[in-house]
């Protein structure tokens, strides 16, 4: 009998201890909290159409073949038929601002070859950029520009409702025919897409 009394006393003491531990939450609720940040997931560039070679990815490079650039007589062969189309997957859970910028404003000869009368050293181009839904519809703005040889940056904003419908960003680079012979050398232009989630 004395042994049972000791056991009962010990159980009572343990029970009191448990009650004390839950005294701050009298309803017995447990709160679980999480925070989802405003986030955008931007995938690498993929070429959809156009001539030449392409290295896809986050720092993609599209290269025209020499035969795409000039004919046997040295005259420009680039034109609207040489347009390049690129997509980059984009998924955002919030409003965004997006922009594109051009490094030169022309597909231009890099070398310091002196300008020579009767020759051209750059191609201007038409550029359109826009976010698209999975079905291929433009979301918000679809700016287009004709380059003029100087760098340009254009920025746009999209509310959360629109931004969440975006499936990919699309860019179309369409060279403008050049009537002159092109100076020999390496030509380049860089277009940079920037996406920023906004709260």
């Amino acid at each position: 009998m004395r042994r049972w009394s000791k056991i009962l006393f010990a159980m009572t003491a343990l029970s009191l201890g448990i009650q004390a531990a839950y005294a701050d939450d009298p309803n017995g609720e447990i709160h679980v909290k999480g925070n989802v940040p405003a986030v955008c997931s931007l995938g690498g560039w993929q070429k959809q159409s156009g001539p030449g070679a392409f290295v896809p990815g986050f720092d993609a490079v599209a290269t025209y073949n020499s035969s795409d650039l000039v004919g046997a007589d040295g005259f420009s062969a680039l034109g609207p038929g040489s347009a390049l189309t690129f997509h980059a997957p984009l998924s955002c859970n919030t409003a965004i601002t997006w922009s594109f910028s051009t490094a030169k404003g022309a597909l231009r000869l890099d070398a310091t070859t002196a300008a020579a009368p009767g020759f051209a050293r750059q191609w201007f181009y038409d550029l359109s950029a826009a976010p698209y839904t999975q079905g291929g519809s433009v979301v918000g703005f679809q700016p287009t520009l004709t380059s003029n040889g100087t760098p340009i940056t254009e920025s746009f904003g999209l509310g959360s409702g629109d931004a969440k419908t975006i499936s990919y960003m699309g860019i179309v680079f369409s060279p403008i025919a050049q009537p002159l012979r092109m100076l020999a050398g390496n030509y380049s232009e860089t277009i940079t897409l920037t996406v920023s989630p906004t709260m």
Binding site: P37, A38, V39, C40, S41, L42, G43, G44, W45, G52, F58, D59, A60, V61, A62, T63, Y64, S66, D68, L69, V70, G71, A72, D73, G74, L78, L84, F86, A88, P89, S91, L107, L109, T113, A114, A116, P117, G118, F119, I171, F173, R181, M182, L183, A184, G185, N186, Y187, S188, E189, T190, I191, T192, L193, T194, V195, S196, P197
Partner: protein
């Protein structure tokens, strides 16, 4: 439980091909093109009347003919000249050479001239292209002028052919030489 959730999130990030970020993402796309050197040379044309000569264009080349090659009485060379131009355009560096094949107007039927007669008529050939001018005097063997340029050029290669009056009569027969213009890209 917390460790399990953390492991799941990490695995998802590794599997995604895209960059997910709460900050600005800038993604460049570079377009490149390498334009090769192209050169074009058009058929020659007489750029002035010359003297005692006529020029006829023939395909990509032509022919200089003498009105009076020699003095009909003495048989000695008569003074003659011709100026021929080749329109050329190159979009980059180029090699350009002008070569006389025989090194003079030569009567190939005469192996060893005798009796004070000559079987070769030497001439002066000068050529100008871009800012380069070069000339040679024929001496009986093939010789070349190098007018190569490291920059793109557009203009005319002008050849000046001058035959001085001779002091030695020539063997009878046909005399000829070929002046060959070679243009190539240099890249």
């Amino acid at each position: 439980m917390m460790r399990t959730f953390g492991t799941f999130v990490f695995a998802a990030a590794m599997a995604s091909p895209a960059l997910a970020a709460t900050v600005t993402q800038a993604q460049p796309l570079t377009v490149l093109g390498d334009v090769p050197v192209r050169c074009k040379m058009s058929p020659p044309q007489a750029s002035d009347g010359g003297s005692n000569t006529s020029f006829s264009q023939n395909g990509a080349g032509g022919e200089i003919d003498f009105t009076n090659f020699v003095d009909p009485v003495t048989g000695k060379l008569a003074a003659s000249s011709a100026q021929i131009a080749f329109p050329i355009i190159c979009t980059g560096a180029q090699t350009l050479t002008v070569t006389t094949q025989n090194g003079g107007l030569t009567n190939t039927n005469v192996t060893s001239p005798s009796g004070g007669f000559a079987a070769r008529a030497d001439y002066t050939l000068s050529a100008s292209w871009a800012s380069t001018v070069q000339s040679l005097q024929t001496v009986g063997s093939s010789a070349s002028l190098d007018l190569s340029q490291s920059a793109p050029q557009s203009g005319q290669l002008v050849l000046n052919f001058t035959l001085a009056p001779g002091n030695q009569p020539l063997e009878a027969g046909s005399y000829d030489d070929a002046i060959v213009v070679q243009l190539n890209t240099a890249q």
